[in-house]
């Protein structure tokens, strides 16, 4: 899905732009990445974890880079996580939300971005309600674009931080059984996780109300489990999705109580698991709906490590995309 600007896809650009990983200019999704590329991003994230443990939580690597966080949809966790990542790399950042900006006055996405470009920015982190918005923008501006969630398409840095959290716990993703529970149909988090997990050799299943499972998902190599008990019996990792409350009024589920009774991940259900199972959740949680408090705060939960890893993964992505220009990369190779 990563769309590069015309003429920017040369090997030199790829080398200069992402440390030889060939990520190109942007990160718009995990669908187009190979397992090796994803693992390399996770490897890059490792040393960035330590920086957040330092007394001075800052390294100068993106000093002088300007990053715009363009959030057309509200977000707390992702926005703050990106901001911490940017600041810990010494970048200069601005935040633009939809309300109170020219976006509210009807300015188009491209016009907003072009105006920012005219102020000489280097990177854009974009959250948008429309699927494909990040790639659309990436195609039209020379700055690096990082997708922070676009409609129902992808949320690649969330997927990466989830993969890192699972890899931290089990050592490797290969052969790990991950079941995503909940509203798969509308979830960009589920999409990014499915692509990323499959690329890295994990086994993936989904579980949820039939109305919320995309038709034909088995064709991707994903198993569909209809009961949460089955999911718990099968999985090493339960990835519990937030149930977006507006789904109820749209008629996808009968009631929140009913959803919790059938698909809620509870202590009683987890205690019957045949082996150790860990629980992830992208937040924010609806306690008592898709996940019970006992689970969210219990020994199964990796929810807070996910949040910690989010900063490190985003630092790694920004670091890898922010590389130099192709000409300089070539010159440096010769002069090295």
């Amino acid at each position: 899905m990563s769309v590069s600007r015309e003429g920017s896809t040369s090997a030199a650009r790829a080398n200069g732009g992402s440390g030889g990983l060939g990520l190109g200019k942007d990160l718009t999704g995990l669908e187009s990445l190979t397992g090796a590329q994803i693992e390399a991003i996770l490897d890059t994230a490792e040393p960035f974890k330590e920086i957040s443990e330092r007394r001075i939580k800052k390294v100068p690597v993106l000093r002088g880079k300007t990053i715009v966080n363009l959030f057309f949809e509200p977000s707390t966790r992702t926005r703050i996580s990106f901001e911490f990542a940017e600041k810990r790399l010494s970048a200069d950042t601005v935040y633009i939300g939809a309300s109170g900006s020219s976006v509210q006055k009807g300015e188009s996405l491209v016009d907003t971005a072009r105006n920012l470009e005219a102020m000489r920015i280097d990177m854009v982190v974009i959250r948008h309600g429309s699927s494909g918005a990040a790639a659309f923008l990436a195609d039209r501006i020379p700055s690096n674009v990082v997708n922070a969630g676009d409609g129902q398409h992808e949320h690649p840095t969330q997927g990466l931080l989830d993969l890192l959290t699972i890899r931290d716990r089990f050592g490797s993703l290969v052969g790990r059984r991950v079941c995503i529970v909940g509203d798969i149909l509308h979830s960009r988090v589920a999409r990014s996780n499915i692509w990323g997990l499959l690329a890295c050799g994990a086994e993936v299943a989904v579980c949820g109300p039939k109305t919320l499972i995309p038709l034909g998902i088995e064709e991707l190599g994903v198993t569909v489990l209809s009961r949460v008990e089955e999911a718990i019996e099968w999985a090493d990792v339960l990835y519990v999705l937030r149930l977006q409350l507006e789904r109820m009024s749209a008629g996808f589920i009968p009631s929140l109580r009913e959803y919790n009774r059938v698909f809620g991940v509870s202590r009683a259900r987890l205690e019957r698991a045949p082996r150790e199972v860990v629980v992830l959740h992208p937040g924010p949680m609806n306690r008592g709906v898709e996940i019970d408090s006992d689970v969210a705060d219990g020994p199964w939960s990796l929810i807070l490590p996910q949040v910690t890893n989010g900063v490190a993964v985003r630092m790694a992505v920004l670091y890898l995309l922010a590389g130099g220009s192709p000409e300089l990369a070539e010159a440096a190779k010769e002069g090295a």
Binding site: N15, G16, G17, S18, G19, G20, L21, A40, D43, T44, E46, P47, F48, E50, I51, R54, R55, I56, K58, V59, P60, V61, L89, Y319, L320, A322, G323, G324, L328, A329, A331, A332, K333, A336
Partner: protein, 185 residues
């Protein structure tokens, strides 16, 4: 010994080890009280050299000197020219550096830019009482006003050549060679 064509061995294992032993002695001699000494190796090859120095020091004085490692990747001044390195090592400092005597250890001193980066990174961790620099080889060619306190050996390097230090942990053998620039590192 497997040596790439065009390479010339400057110090074999024995000579390299003797050089390190002398460096360890010099570091201890400067301040006989080594209680607050900390050796910090610059990744990657400086780390093993720092450990070897600490082992020599233990033999010479009986004192166990702590060692740490510094990865200066994120402090380099050429990030915008060469782009990111995908794999970054970690910086591990086992003790608080503030108030200590810190000796930075690296394999080859050339432009001085690595040491500039190391000094900046160290400053983000604390304020050592004193910082010194120990290098196995000084090959000249400084681009910054940086001078080492301890030098194992100095070698001239002709155009198109560089100094390659090999260490056991990374390269399987301990030695110093002069190699063509495109040579194996």
């Amino acid at each position: 010994m497997s040596v790439a064509s065009g390479a010339e061995v400057l110090l074999d294992r024995e000579q390299t080890d003797v050089t390190l032993r002398d460096l360890a002695r010099q570091i201890l001699e400067r301040e006989p009280e080594a209680g607050d000494l900390l050796l910090i190796g610059i990744r990657r090859r400086g780390v093993e050299l720092a450990e070897r120095l600490a082992a020599h020091m233990e033999k010479q004085s009986g004192a166990r000197i702590p060692t740490g490692s510094l990865d200066i990747t994120l402090y380099r001044d050429d990030f915008h020219q060469i782009g990111p390195k995908p794999v970054i090592g970690s910086t591990e400092l086992p003790v608080e550096i503030t108030g200590r005597r810190v000796v930075i250890v690296d394999d080859v001193l050339h432009t001085g830019r690595t040491i500039r980066a190391a000094l900046n990174e160290l400053a983000d961790f604390g304020r050592p009482r004193r910082v010194e620099l120990c290098v196995l080889v000084d090959r000249g060619g400084r681009e910054l006003p940086i001078q080492p306190d301890y030098v194992g050996r100095s070698f001239e390097v002709r155009v198109g050549e560089e100094i390659a230090v090999s260490v056991r942990g990374l390269d399987g053998e301990l030695l110093v060679r002069r190699v063509p620039v495109a040579g194996v590192r």
